[in-house]
């Protein structure tokens, strides 16, 4: 069994209109490997090619060039779909059905028969906290409830790989936390989660690795802690004289002094104590020492504005 849940090799998707001479490249030479058992964040601005890639992985559209494999099989093989599941962004379900009926419908698509079907539907309704609303039509559900039912339909087949497109978009804080906890619980069960999201704080909190796409190209890929390395500590001090600036700059810090107030952005590499010693030795008074961690948002903005590919 391959240790890769998803693999793409030079994956390219071009759209060409009937009358257009210039095809649009939605995905360009994408090479991606997602390992089994990890939570993988798939990021990028709107139009970056995320949904196009997901559609190729699901066999909803076909690649123009390159290859895509899901759980070791060519993408789109319906037999493989017994082991995967998908939650689209803003999903719509037949709203005349109740929560129980829609899960029963999806269970039937997998050929799950009674009594196993009812048992699994009840378990899932309980798991996503919708047991009390199970017999209400979906048209009466809130956005958060619909998202929960969407996740429940994803779990109906006990999948190995879940592909989630914006699973926490538009949710209230409580629903947000619930869905995030459920995602972590699924990872603990050994499932692979491939999450496309603009909720960068969520991605930073739950994902093991991320890939950032821009204009169809892969521009960043790596472990979260590696990508976010390079935080700094901000040191503010008063009653500081000019002669401290040079020694601080020699330690790699960015220092500025105005009217006796010193502001230093010092790399978080063990030199912070030495900067404080320098300031105190010069008669300065430390006002605050505040660590700043680089966030995924910083990385995302920097990557997209930088725009280079890996």
């Amino acid at each position: 069994m391959s240790d890769l849940a998803i693999k793409t090799v030079n994956l390219t998707k071009r759209y060409s209109g009937l009358w257009s001479k210039h095809p649009v490249e939605a995905v360009k030479n994408l090479n991606l490997e997602v390992y089994r058992g990890e939570i993988f964040g798939f990021l990028g601005p709107n139009g970056a090619g995320k949904t196009t890639t997901i559609k190729i992985l699901l066999g909803i559209i076909y690649p123009t060039e390159g290859e895509a494999y899901v759980l070791g099989q060519p993408a789109g093989d319906p037999k493989n779909h017994y082991k995967i599941s998908y939650l689209p962004e803003n999903p719509y379900f037949y709203d005349y059905m109740t929560g129980r009926e829609i899960l029963t419908f999806y269970a039937k698509l997998f050929g799950i028969t009674e009594p196993e079907r009812s048992k699994r539907v009840d378990e899932l309704l309980d798991r996503v906290g919708l047991s009390r609303a199970a017999d209400q039509p979906l048209r009466t559900y809130s956005k958060g409830m619909l998202q929960r039912i969407g996740l429940a339909q994803c779990l109906i087949n006990d999948p190995e790989l879940l592909i989630l497109d914006e699973p926490t978009a538009g949710l209230d804080p409580i629903a947000h936390i619930d869905i995030r906890d459920l995602i972590l619980e699924l990872r603990n069960q050994g499932k692979t989660l491939f999450i496309s999201s603009h909720q960068l704080s969520d991605v930073e909190r739950v994902c093991d690795r991320v890939a950032i796409l821009n204009k169809g190209m892969l521009v960043r890929l790596g472990k979260i802690e590696e990508l976010l390395a390079g935080g700094y500590v901000e040191i503010i001090a008063d009653k500081v004289t000019n002669n401290v600036l040079e020694p601080i700059r020699q330690l790699g810090g960015k220092a500025s002094l105005h009217d006796g107030r010193l502001i230093v952005e010092q790399p978080d590499d063990g030199s912070v104590d030495r900067v404080i010693d320098i300031v105190r030795a010069a008669g300065g008074h430390i006002v605050s020492v505040k660590p700043y961690r680089r966030t995924l948002e910083d990385l995302f903005v920097e990557t997209i504005q930088g725009g280079k590919s890996v």
Binding site: I60, Y62, F105, G111
Partner: protein
């Protein structure tokens, strides 16, 4: 098969709740119910012919509207709402999706015809004092006519937008009703050149002949004499089934290549 039936069930459930279809059905039921009131206008034996013909006309019209309005949106709406992504990401083949949609549509048509048929039978029984033997075979023929039309609409819906589909399917239905008699007329006329005749002949071969299903209507076909009505009905239904199978196969082939 499970997946096809599940999709058919969901399609049926959604279609029978569509307000526009319910309104068409209710208007049709109301007109069918009051149709015996038009009988006296014809007088004598003509009253029976008028009642039966009027009822059939309403049922056929309602069936046509229901088939076109229901089926134009069946596949495009699923794509637009992204429901199709949650279905095709399950172990469902695309052909199963198309089949499920078609069976759901036929189920809905069957339900609507059943409603209209029951009301028509009751209304004519009350007005004429007996059941007319033409009603059940006539309903069966119109049901298959609408099912064939549903297959035409689903076929077009795999590659054109709903608006274009309304015109295409409506045009095919209209031509399919008129072409065979038009062809007979021009074949009898020696002045018609092959340039006119051949395209009409070709179209008559390609397009489904919807006129075959209208024979039970005594006003549309006053001189129609069917020597063996059972054989004719069976043949016409078999014709519809063959045509439906061909259209569904084409729909599946196109839909299989379609990107959504």
């Amino acid at each position: 098969m499970n997946a096809t039936l599940a999709i058919a069930g969901a399609t049926f459930g959604e279609a029978v709740r569509k307000r526009i279809l319910i309104v068409i059905l209710l208007i049709a039921l109301l007109i069918i119910l009051i149709s015996p009131a038009f009988g006296p206008f014809a007088g004598g034996r003509g009253a029976r012919t008028l009642i039966i013909s009027f009822g059939f006309g309403v049922i056929q019209l309602a069936g046509t509207f229901i088939a076109i309005i229901m089926c134009t949106g069946l596949i495009p709406t699923e794509i637009e709402r992204r429901t199709i992504y949650t279905i095709l990401s399950k172990p469902v083949q695309r052909y199963q999706f198309v089949l499920g949609k078609f069976f759901g549509a036929v189920g809905t048509l069957g339900f609507m015809y059943l409603m209209m048929g029951i009301v028509f039978l009751i209304a004519t029984r009350l007005a004429l004092g007996e059941f007319d033997g033409r009603i059940i075979p006539g309903l069966l023929m119109f049901f298959f006519q609408s099912s064939l039309l549903a297959a035409v609409v689903i076929f077009f819906s795999t590659f054109v937008s709903p608006l274009v589909n309304y015109f295409l399917s409506g045009g095919v239905f209209l031509l399919g009703n008129l072409l065979s008699s038009f062809l007979e007329t021009i074949q009898r006329n020696p002045e018609v050149t092959p340039i006119t005749r051949i395209p009409v002949q070709l179209l008559t071969i390609i397009l489904p002949n919807f006129a075959n299903f209208n024979v039970q209507n005594p006003i549309i076909n006053p001189e129609q004499v069917i020597t063996d009505p059972v054989a004719y009905t069976v043949q016409t239904i078999a014709y519809a089934i063959v045509y439906i199978v061909m259209l569904l196969v084409l729909s599946m082939l196109i839909f299989n290549q379609r990107e959504m």
